[in-house]
Symmetry: C2
Subunit: 265 residues, 2 copies
């Protein structure tokens, strides 16, 4: 089974790029972020015409997540409140950043973590509050086979950025990195790309500005985390840079994990 995560930066603008890619890389589940479209306006048929099921949680202009799945998913849920209830969630479900569903024994949680703008800003504190709620949300998950993926807007380690960054740089500040580790790694989930690849120089996002891609000024901020039971079934994790080289690309490129079917006992 293949699961991919891709921040497409507007699913409508990127529709041709995404459907072309999906035909060449017919992954089982494609997790999209930054769809930037309401549920009513989501281009469903472009995916259903390819034989995919479409599960979405979107809004106008900003954010928005989707699960595009070859097989129907079960237990599809949107936002944090479905698991946690309304009280702890407060304003953190107003932006559409969370969708989850289950394929066979595998639970997939697709996330678009807030960017945070600048360290110390109001948006930064929203990001930290959001990550703390994510920690509670993931703690409440009981599934053994869990894949938590998406655009985390955080580089875990220095090797995940093209060049040394100051500690006060958004997406690399110690506090947000600690918050992400606390929310995900401390629960036993493993960054599957680093399970297979230890060298630096592998990125999933390059700023549109100043020729970020052509100068390979990238960041690895799109991750797939697997629970211990699932990491042992993973056979590889790759970043497909090809879509970043097309005309009018997203600034992110897809990351794909391959997971073996469970051994029948």
């Amino acid at each position: 089974m293949q699961i991919a995560t891709w921040n497409v930066n507007s699913v409508r603008t990127r529709l041709g790029i995404v459907t072309d890619w999906l035909q060449r890389q017919p992954v089982d589940v494609l997790c999209l972020q930054e769809t930037k479209v309401t549920d009513e306006q989501f281009p469903r048929s472009a995916f259903t015409d390819l034989g995919y099921e479409v599960y979405i949680s979107g809004q106008k202009s900003y954010n928005g997540v989707a699960l595009i799945s070859r097989q129907p998913l079960t237990n599809v849920s949107v936002g944090f409140a479905g698991i946690l209830g309304a009280e702890p969630v407060g304003d953190l479900d107003e932006q559409k950043r969370v969708i989850s569903g289950q394929l066979g024994d595998v639970s997939i949680i697709n996330l678009y973590v807030p960017n945070g703008s600048e360290v110390g800003s109001e948006k930064y504190h929203y990001k930290l509050r959001w990550l703390e709620l994510l920690r509670q949300y993931l703690t409440a998950q009981s599934d053994k086979s869990l894949c938590v993926c998406g655009d985390f807007n955080i580089a875990l380690e220095a090797i995940d950025i093209h060049t040394k960054k100051k500690d006060d740089h958004i997406m690399y500040s110690p506090i947000e990195r600690a918050a992400l580790k606390s929310a995900v790694l401390d629960l036993g989930l493993k960054d599957v790309f680093r399970h297979f690849v230890t060298e630096p120089g592998h990125y999933s996002w390059w700023d549109y500005r100043q020729g970020g891609y052509s100068r390979n000024r990238g960041w690895r901020i799109d991750h797939l985390y697997l629970s211990p039971e699932l990491i042992d079934r993973a056979t590889g994790c790759t970043i497909d840079k090809a879509p970043r080289e097309l005309e009018q690309p997203s600034d992110h490129t897809p990351v794909i994990v391959e997971i073996e079917q469970p051994v029948l006992t």
Copy 2:
């Protein structure tokens, strides 16, 4: 000699369409309107690379006219004030709507007449004041061989619109039609398209809205007027609808007149 007029609705957005057309239809002079670009930002080289000379009068966002000529033009002039002086012109040269030049014995005046918005509006009165100044401007012209062309934003007769329009419709109100006739026809200039084609159903502009083109809901508002000396040398006038059928077209399509070289005596 061929002269064409074309409101391109942004020369930058339409650059490929216009240069492709110019290579297939290598007219001697192409008169553009609604270039929507400052002189500094005009895409000169796209035309000079094809061997054309470029004469422009543009502004940011709105209006803007250009003469694209295979041979260098003489006596190039911009606005009304070059001929009339500053006093009568007032605010009517603030918008870039007039450019003229001479090719051999033929003087070409390229115009973008104000749209007028709604009958009775402030913009409508600006349009009427502008047309009165145009009348003075053309009256002051002494050239025997004169071609006055452009987007006039006025249909001369009922047959120039796809369907009967109320008298209070902008681009067809009696007052603006009379103002145009007074400014142009009453000076002896002839609408060369009507010199050759008398049937209705020939248009140069179709609203983008409500499938105006596919339903052929057009207007003939782009004209070429020739002085008596020149009308006798005209051999044809055609509307080329092909560019209106391309992807991302202008709402206007080019009108071309063919003029014989003068008989050498």
